[in-house]
Symmetry: D4
Subunit: 165 residues, 8 copies
């Protein structure tokens, strides 16, 4: 695997706590990443530069999280052939519906792979699924994670059944 295949860009430092769940997953998977702040509107040049140079630096998947009129992943996708995953964030009056529609309804030609509102862990799992088509060690770990999810449900089920029977 390349050294740092994932680039994560957040619209604001205050989005960091919400991203933690996804970062933990990447660490479990042994997938390294760069994490930075970017803004489609307050610092467009930096955002464009990041997007344009990502592939050359070895990045293979980009994750971008933003709230409100959440243009960040779309603007990044405009500048790179890499797959871009968007996380719509809830932080505003409209519960994240604004961010969701601002990401998922991208015009023809420039898709954003959108996950659920605030779903940073799912964004990172999706990034690993994408990497897994190239790196077999990632696929093996994803299958272990799926197996672990099954075991956890079996375990919870056993606990619940013993308690209620």
């Amino acid at each position: 695997m390349v050294k740092t295949p994932v680039l994560i860009l957040l619209g604001s430092e205050s989005d960091m706590p919400l991203m933690q769940d996804g970062l933990d997953f990447l660490k479990e998977m042994g997938v390294t990443f760069v994490l930075d702040i970017a803004s489609a509107h307050r610092h467009p040049e930096k955002t464009a530069a990041y997007a344009k140079s990502a592939r050359e630096k070895g990045i293979e998947v980009i994750i971008a999280g933003a709230g409100l009129a959440a243009h960040l992943p779309g603007v990044i996708a405009a500048h790179t052939p890499l797959p871009v995953i968007g996380i719509p964030l809830k932080g505003g009056a409209l519960l994240g519906m604004d961010a969701l529609l601002s990401m998922v309804q991208m015009p023809k030609g420039v898709p954003v792979a959108t996950v659920g509102i605030d779903a940073s862990r799912n964004a990172c799992i999706l990034a690993c699924e994408i990497l897994s088509i190239k790196y077999d060690e990632v696929r093996v770990k994803l299958e272990e994670m799926k197996e672990k999810m099954r075991r956890e449900i079996d375990e919870k089920s056993r606990r619940l059944r013993s308690r209620t029977e």
Copy 2:
């Protein structure tokens, strides 16, 4: 008044018919404009270049119309201190709600002056109201338009009353 104070950018040629109502208003007002196609996602460099150079070319107000995840006015606003008016367009499954939220819910620091869905005429009236704080001839014409709207309603009212009484 400067020669061409208004720049109008549309996300697609197919949005032209919808813009016509606004263009007609600008012509009535004697306000000249440049009209062009731009795309925040399919041609980001051209869009940024347009936005960055607008003020120097004498543009004083920018109008941008787009549908779906309608980032165009926000991306333009990122690159210019000029006021940017956004027209959310209906052309998609969600009736224009996606475009409306993608424009109006801009993050702190970079506002878009959003008008109603498909409201190209209101966008152009707003552009003239902005110009009117600097150019008295525009203000005078706006007041005439307001007076004309009143007379039209009086006229329609007279016609309706005579028909129903």
Copy 3:
């Protein structure tokens, strides 16, 4: 610049804390303003009088914030050729969607330049962008603000990168 180019009208005293962020921005910019309470429904005469006399008093931009069926900016726009900026406020059951639609979906002929829900700062930035087409000192300060936003992101980015690397 004229002495007091901005008039801000709020639907209720309880909206004041929310407006503060915008007022702070105007003070930073050195743009003076009048702030008052008005109501399209509980005191329509005062509201109409305010709107009608604004231009003569030297006002160049009006900002109006209201919640629920938020008619205030639309009713003001009916009485003046000045640009009117609307801030939809969240204060009710429907998260501000009612106020947003009551402002942005204005009928043909009478636009309201709508900003995001509770976005008082963006409303005041938009007011300054409008003034900037006439007053060069405002434009210079807006460009400084944009530059400052970029520097802040660079700074945050540096801090975050040093912490995570």
Copy 4:
């Protein structure tokens, strides 16, 4: 009964066909009405004048229909102690939800009695229900209408049952 107890104001001549169903009901009931065009935004003075003088002219109920950011009934209610019935009209991208919220979510102190989207007949029935607390002949006719609705359903039921059995 007073000669003309009902005043009906529409935002636009194009709303007339939709009002017809309600007007037919008033005619069946023998309740006379004035029908006119008004606009909260394009002719605010006329609208205010209508509202202010309505009671003195003998009007007892006002019905106002409008689409988009439908301020008309709210603006009328601001100027009169008479009950004001609002009909939100569908004519726009958002299916009438904008008009519904712009009417029903009125601020404390100035209610609008809102009926369903495009429901002109229900608006006129409600107007008659209001008049019926004062004019017994209206109440008697309303009870006949209710009885007639029951008979119609019985009749349709009989027809349907005979066809399917």
Copy 5:
């Protein structure tokens, strides 16, 4: 005025605190009322009986508040020619949108005069506006209330202006 012209029915005892604002208004106006619990679904016979006998008992306006699939005012309206005012209540996951649509979108023939979500005071003002077409003393008090609202805004405005100038 009749002794007790207003009947208020709530879907649940827990809706009482929310109704208080409206009850206070009726007391200020000197309009007496009956307040009771009713349920379209849990006790349909009692609800129907209330609705059917209301007019004979001298009731002239009925107010019904309910949340969720809020059928109460519609079911009452089915059984009486009296005007029925509906207050959609917020108490559930969907912020009151379910209650609003369940009330306002009544089928042709049986209107409900719907006010805003949780707007118990506006429901009671509307009830008085309806009574005012028959009882002049109610109209006089409504006009005093409107005058008082204006004075309050003037007062708040004076206070705010003196503080900020």
Copy 6:
């Protein structure tokens, strides 16, 4: 099986074409039904009588379809211990969302088993699933239908694959 275990009530004759898909399914299943018109608001007594007497007449499941503020299934459920299935119908401005929320958000104590908008066939399948817990011949036929759905997809799949390969 009892002679006629299913009662179907529609809010209006115009809803008949939409119900046809479900009626065809019941006929395929050999489950007989009564079909009639009822209205929670225009003929509440008939609706209540239907609901109250249904069980004694041998009815075991009730299906009710209605649009707008669709109270019909809820009002029926208030009067019977039988399971009541609600079909929200699209026929109005709000795409059936009003009918869906008016049915599914029933208050505690009186559930309506709600199916999708305009989903008359699914309502009838659900009715048969309910009957199948008592009548084994219905269960056998449901399992055959499920098997047939699988075979149809296999068949379509074969056709599509042969065409595209």
Copy 7:
């Protein structure tokens, strides 16, 4: 009655508190149930196995509660001819609207009997209504519950009236 006619599956242990209200109702009714954890996505095989074997084990009604993209009841319904009741749960940004639409809008052929958001008690009442067509003792208890609801409202009404009169 069979020993355990109801199977309840929840998407997560954290949904248990919300289910309690429904479980209490089943206990009052003397209807026994199996309660377990299942997941359409994290443990699809277990879910399918549960659904496929339910009928043979004597289960007659299945209740499934889930939040977000709530596929659980639909996936269960795919594998059994038994009636499946779905409870959309609120636990996410979108107030439960995502779960509601993911359940109620099932494709033709595989219905889910959907109840209100978080409405675990109504789901259990509906399960009993379904059982009541086969087991007379359940019907008798349901009628007692309905009678009790009426008495409770009568009681609350008496209390409220004595307090306010």
Copy 8:
């Protein structure tokens, strides 16, 4: 590149015309695919079998399109570590909002990479972006496509400018 890296599954044959735009893109890119019908609810075993065996057959990305309560991509994602792209389809009363929320709001652990409503071309572009991290020839073609989009806008812009100047 592997022989057939993309598997496309649609919920119904009637979704085929809508998919054509995406299939054309894959052909332009020289990326071969398997296209088939599947249903999470009407034929769950076939869908599970497809998902489980996909990776062994050399599939690297799965695209699934469905309408209404669109569980297909989520159910597939439950059975495979491959990235799954979901296309919400509009075909129902709710404009595709039901399908969008049923896909994008997947629970933690099983993401679906959701694109816009009816956006089959964007789904196929996203599939190629994913493949491009492994196959350089796909990346080169994606960059050519991005370049072509820019040239098309330049061309349209020239045409429009020459027409309006």
